[in-house]
């Protein structure tokens, strides 16, 4: 099991949970498990099965785009994070 941190804008889709335990040996499988647990997240993260371009997924401080994308291996205890686009300032 690894954990994924849910940013504030998406917590309305995870029953308010700030972090969720997920199973899966790759980033893709772990995200699949996340959207199985919380189906309402599916449309927020994926567009026709593809990770939306403005959704940034980090594994232990590193952008998965610079690792192996959704194929990146995930080990027990790893920390995944969704980094959202937010624009507020006022």
């Amino acid at each position: 099991m690894s954990t994924i941190r849910i940013p504030t804008p998406l917590r309305q889709y995870t029953d308010g949970n700030a972090s969720v335990a997920i199973a899966g040996e790759t980033v893709g499988a772990a995200l699949q498990d996340l959207t199985t647990q919380f189906p309402a997240l599916e449309g927020q993260l994926f567009d026709e099965g593809k990770l939306r371009s403005f959704v940034n997924i980090y594994l232990n401080q590193e952008d998965i785009r610079y690792l192996n994308g959704e194929e990146t291996a995930v080990s027990a205890g790893d920390a995944l994070m969704i980094v959202p686009s937010i624009a507020g300032g006022k």
């Binding site: 504030t8 804008p9 700030a18 940034n56 994070m81 507020g88 300032g89 006022k90």
Partner: protein, 401 residues
């Protein structure tokens, strides 16, 4: 080369200034040289709101010689919960008039330049040109991309801070050895997917925390102290009091700062993001036309006359439950189904019955109508102005928010 080059040559500190800045002067890494650099430096703040308030006050207090501020707004009661530049008596005044006086009060040695206009692709480069550092404290995606692009094109660092609800982000973009905002976010989220602070709310102290961190980064860039946030993104969550740091990289394929840039001039950022950049904008969200669904507007007066005439009109409120707590039209029989639940609960609605759809100001309710029409709903009205309009024009006993 993680800092910017500010020359302190020929800059002197008066005895008054030495006294004022003594806690910096005895700070080993800043010292007289650093304080002179601060005096010689110029910083441009985009936005004089939640982030802009602590930025302007702390940078002025710290001795930044020249502070420019871009903002076209007037002070509103809803600003006072977090925009600490402003007092209750300032409501209705232009923000820049109040901000300039406040900065001068904190530090009469600071030069304050005010730009009382929306930042656009036409004026951005001209406004940015005289400043060493740009600090992004805006509240919308189009302006964030504009600030980023203009900063990169002019080779100026962009101290980035962003907030939403309990969450903040901090980084330094646009340094020669680091990424830009587009390296992290190549594309904006589609309109409507990420709510603004006006819709989503924001913890009042959050901009204070993130804005002061931006001010710290600006001072570090100027004085050459420490390690700036270049190549790093700080994620701050006030609800869990968690700080997480992510590694950022310059994206070689970035359309702006990559190896083969294709964005070489400022573009139309409202079209790029599909949303208006500010409430003076005449931009009309293209999604409306694309969906080809006409949203019929009902004026506040029409609704009032029809209710006064005793008509039994259905009013669907599509806001969130915590907004319903603030104000509602339940005395006219309105009922609540939040926007995100409408399609899920569509069976509760009769597509043939005339219904007025209402939210805070009329944006979300129009979205709901566009969602319902394809399901056979043919008698829907959007309440033009929403409950805030109703509270302003029809029933002033209801609060606005």
């Amino acid at each position: 080369m993680s800092f910017i080059n500010i020359s302190a040559d020929g800059v002197e500190l008066s005895t008054e200034e030495v006294k004022r800045y003594s806690r910096h002067l005895i700070l080993p890494d800043v010292g007289v040289e650093g304080q002179k650099k601060l005096k010689a430096s110029s910083v441009l703040l985009i936005g004089a709101g939640g982030l802009g308030s602590p930025l302007a006050m702390y940078l002025a207090a710290a001795g930044v010689g020249r502070i420019g501020i871009v903002d076209y707004d007037t002070v509103d009661f809803t600003n006072l919960q977090r925009q600490v530049l402003y007092s209750t008596e300032d409501v209705g005044k232009t923000k820049l008039e109040v901000a300039a006086a406040r900065i001068k009060g904190i530090n009469p040695f600071a030069q304050v330049d005010t730009y009382n206009e929306p930042l656009t692709s036409y004026n951005a480069k001209k406004i940015f040109a005289p400043y060493d550092i740009i600090i992004d404290g805006t509240d919308n995606f189009p302006t964030r991309y504009l600030v980023n692009d203009a900063s990169v094109m002019l080779g100026k660092p962009n101290v980035y801070g962003s907030i939403f609800r309990f969450e903040g982000q901090l980084s330094v973009f646009g340094m020669p050895d680091g990424p830009c905002y587009r390296c992290l976010y190549p594309e904006p989220p589609p309109p409507g997917l990420v709510p603004s602070c006006a819709e989503g709310g924001v913890l009042g102290v959050l901009p204070g925390i993130v804005g002061t961190m931006q001010a710290a980064e600006a001072i570090k860039l100027i004085t050459g102290v420490g390690t700036p946030m270049t190549n790093r993104l700080l994620l701050f969550d006030a609800s869990e009091m968690e700080f997480n740091e992510m590694r950022l990289r310059k994206n070689p394929n970035c359309v702006l700062c990559g190896d083969n840039p294709t964005v070489t001039e400022l573009i139309d950022y409202e079209v790029f993001c599909g949303m208006p950049a500010h409430d003076h904008s005449t931009y009309n969200n293209g999604v409306v036309e694309e969906s080809d669904i006409e949203v019929r507007q009902m004026s506040l007066q029409t609704l009032k006359s029809r209710l006064d005439a005793g008509e039994d009109l259905l009013i669907l409120d599509v806001r969130e439950p915590h907004e319903w707590e603030i104000s509602n039209l339940s005395n006219h029989g309105s009922f609540l189904i939040p926007k995100g639940k409408v399609l899920e609960r569509i069976a509760e609605l009769d597509p043939n019955v005339e219904m007025v759809v209402q939210c805070r100001t009329g944006g979300r309710s129009a979205d709901v109508i566009r969602q319902l029409v394809p399901h056979g709903f043919n008698n829907l009205w959007n309440l033009d102005g929403g409950i805030n309009g109703w509270a302003t024009e029809i029933d002033t006993s209801i609060p606005t928010y």
